[in-house]
C-alpha cells in the first residue's frame, strides 16, 4: 500500500500493529508479542510485508489470548489482518 511504501516497510507495519493492540494489552506487551510472533514465522521486523500479516496474526493469537481471552484475541487478530495486512473481510 502507499502508506507502507512511504513510511518505510516492515517497521511501519509493526508500529501499526502495536497501535491496534495497545488499548487492550499495552504498547510494550504488544510490541513484545509481535516481535516474538515475527521470529516464529521466520521473518524480521524490517523485512515484514503485508503478506506476512496473516501468518503473523495466526502466530500471535495464542499469546494474545493469554491476556484478553480467546474471543478478543480472535477479534484483534482479525482486525490486524484487515487493517494492517489489507486482507478483505468475508
Amino acid at each position: 500500500m502507499a502508506a507502507n511504501t512511504i513510511a518505510g516497510g516492515g517497521e511501519f507495519l509493526v508500529r501499526k500493529s502495536v497501535f491496534l493492540l495497545a488499548s487492550s494489552v499495552g504498547t510494550v506487551t504488544a510490541e513484545t508479542l509481535i516481535s516474538q510472533a515475527i521470529e516464529r514465522i521466520g521473518c524480521t521486523r524490517a523485512a515484514l510485508t503485508e503478506s506476512d500479516i496473516s501468518p503473523l496474526a495466526i502466530s500471535l493469537k495464542p499469546a494474545l489470548s493469554t491476556f484478553v481471552g480467546d474471543q478478543k484475541a480472535e477479534q484483534l487478530t482479525a482486525a490486524l489482518r484487515v487493517l494492517v495486512g489489507g486482507v478483505l473481510a468475508q
Binding site: 508500529r15 487492550s24 489470548s65 484483534l76 487493517l83
Partner: protein
C-alpha cells in the same frame, strides 16, 4: 487449519466505545459517595449503618464476581487467567460474608443486658469460620499473583525490580506485622462479648491471624512483582485490571493495620467522639478496597469483551511513532 486469505467480519465502526464501561464505574462510585454521605449526616444505629455497608459491599462483590466469571469464561480451559479470575471473583464475596457475620445476634456491644453464652459462642464461631475463609482467600490471592507473575515472565515481558519496589514490599510487610500485633486489640473492640463469654475462641482467632500474616506477606511480594509487570506493559486495560486488584489487596491490608492500631488506642484510653469518625474511616477503607476489586474485574471484563478500539488515523500515528523512533 485457519485460512490466511480471508478473515471473519469485524465491526470496524467500533472505536473509542469504552463509555458504557466507564459510566458503570462512575455510577458505582457515585452511589458509594451518596450512601456514605447520607450515613455521615444522619444518626443511624450500629446495625443499620453496618447493614447498609454490608449491602454496599455485597453489591460490589456480586458485580465483581459476575464480571470475573464472565472474563474467566473468555479464557480457554487450562489457561492460568481463567483460574485466576474465577478466584479473584470469590475474594469480594468472602470479604462481604466476613463483614456480615458481625451482625449476628449476641455480638453487638450496643445490645442491652446480659447475653446468652451459647448464642455468643455460636455467633463467635461463625465469625471465626468467616475469618478462616478470609485467611484462605489471601492464600488464594497469593497463588493467583504468583501464577500471573510466572505467566508474564514466560510471555517475554521485561522485568526490572527497582529499589522503590523493595521499599514498597518492606512497607507492606510492616503493615502486615502491625495488623498482626494489634489484631487481638481489634478483636477485643469488635467482638467484646466473645472475649467475655467465649474466650477459648480467641486463641483460634490468633492462630488464624498468624496464618493470615504469612499469606499477606506472600501477597505483598508477589503483588509488587505483578505491579511491576503491569507497569512494564505500557498501559492497556489488562494492566489497569491488575493494578486495581493490587490496590484492593494493599488497601485491605492498610485497613487491617489501621483498625488494629485504632482499636489499641481505644482500649488503652478513654473513648472520645473523634474515635467514631476515625473508626468509620476504617469502614470506608474496606468499601474502597471492594470498589477497587470491582474496578479490576470491570477492566478485565472490558479487555475481554469490549469491541476493538481502532485508533483514528492509524497510519498517521504509526508513521509518527516510526519517525520518533
Amino acid at each position: 487449519m485457519e485460512s490466511i486469505e480471508q478473515t471473519r467480519p469485524i465491526d470496524l465502526s467500533a472505536s473509542r466505545s469504552s463509555s458504557r464501561y466507564s459510566i458503570w464505574r462512575w455510577t458505582a462510585l457515585g452511589a458509594l459517595v451518596v450512601i456514605e454521605a447520607t450515613f455521615w449526616f444522619t444518626a443511624a444505629t450500629f446495625r443499620v449503618g453496618w447493614g447498609a455497608r454490608v449491602a454496599v459491599c455485597a453489591a460490589l462483590a456480586l458485580s465483581a464476581l459476575t464480571m470475573s466469571l464472565l472474563s474467566a469464561r473468555s479464557f480457554g480451559r487450562g489457561q492460568v487467567a481463567r483460574r485466576s479470575w474465577m478466584m479473584i471473583g470469590c475474594l469480594g464475596i468472602v470479604d462481604t460474608v466476613l463483614f456480615a457475620t458481625y451482625l449476628l445476634p449476641g455480638l453487638s456491644a450496643a445490645q442491652q443486658g446480659p447475653a446468652d453464652v451459647d448464642t455468643v459462642a455460636r455467633s463467635g464461631s461463625v465469625v471465626l469460620v468467616g475469618t478462616v475463609l478470609s485467611m484462605l482467600s489471601r492464600f488464594m490471592l497469593a497463588y493467583v499473583l504468583w501464577t500471573t507473575a510466572r505467566v508474564y515472565r514466560q510471555s517475554g515481558l521485561r522485568f526490572h525490580f527497582y529499589r522503590r519496589d523493595y521499599a514498597v514490599v518492606g512497607v507492606l510487610l510492616v503493615l502486615a506485622v502491625i495488623s498482626l500485633v494489634y489484631s487481638s486489640a481489634a478483636m477485643r473492640v469488635q467482638l467484646p462479648r466473645v472475649v467475655t463469654y467465649a474466650p477459648h475462641l480467641m486463641q483460634w482467632f490468633d492462630l488464624t491471624e498468624l496464618a493470615r500474616l504469612f499469606a499477606l506477606g506472600c501477597c505483598s511480594v508477589f503483588g509488587v512483582v505483578v505491579w511491576r509487570y503491569a507497569t512494564e506493559m505500557g498501559g492497556g486495560l489488562v494492566a489497569k485490571a491488575w493494578r486495581s486488584v493490587l490496590l484492593y489487596a494493599a488497601i485491605y491490608l492498610l485497613r487491617f493495620a489501621y483498625t488494629g492500631v485504632l482499636s489499641h488506642v481505644i482500649t488503652a484510653g478513654p473513648p472520645s467522639p473523634g474515635m467514631r469518625s476515625l473508626y468509620v474511616a476504617g469502614l470506608w477503607a474496606l468499601i474502597l478496597a471492594e470498589f477497587m476489586l470491582f474496578l479490576g474485574a470491570s477492566y478485565q471484563y472490558e479487555a475481554c469483551s469490549s469491541k476493538i478500539e481502532i485508533p483514528q488515523e492509524l497510519d498517521a500515528l504509526a508513521s509518527q511513532a516510526q519517525l520518533r523512533g
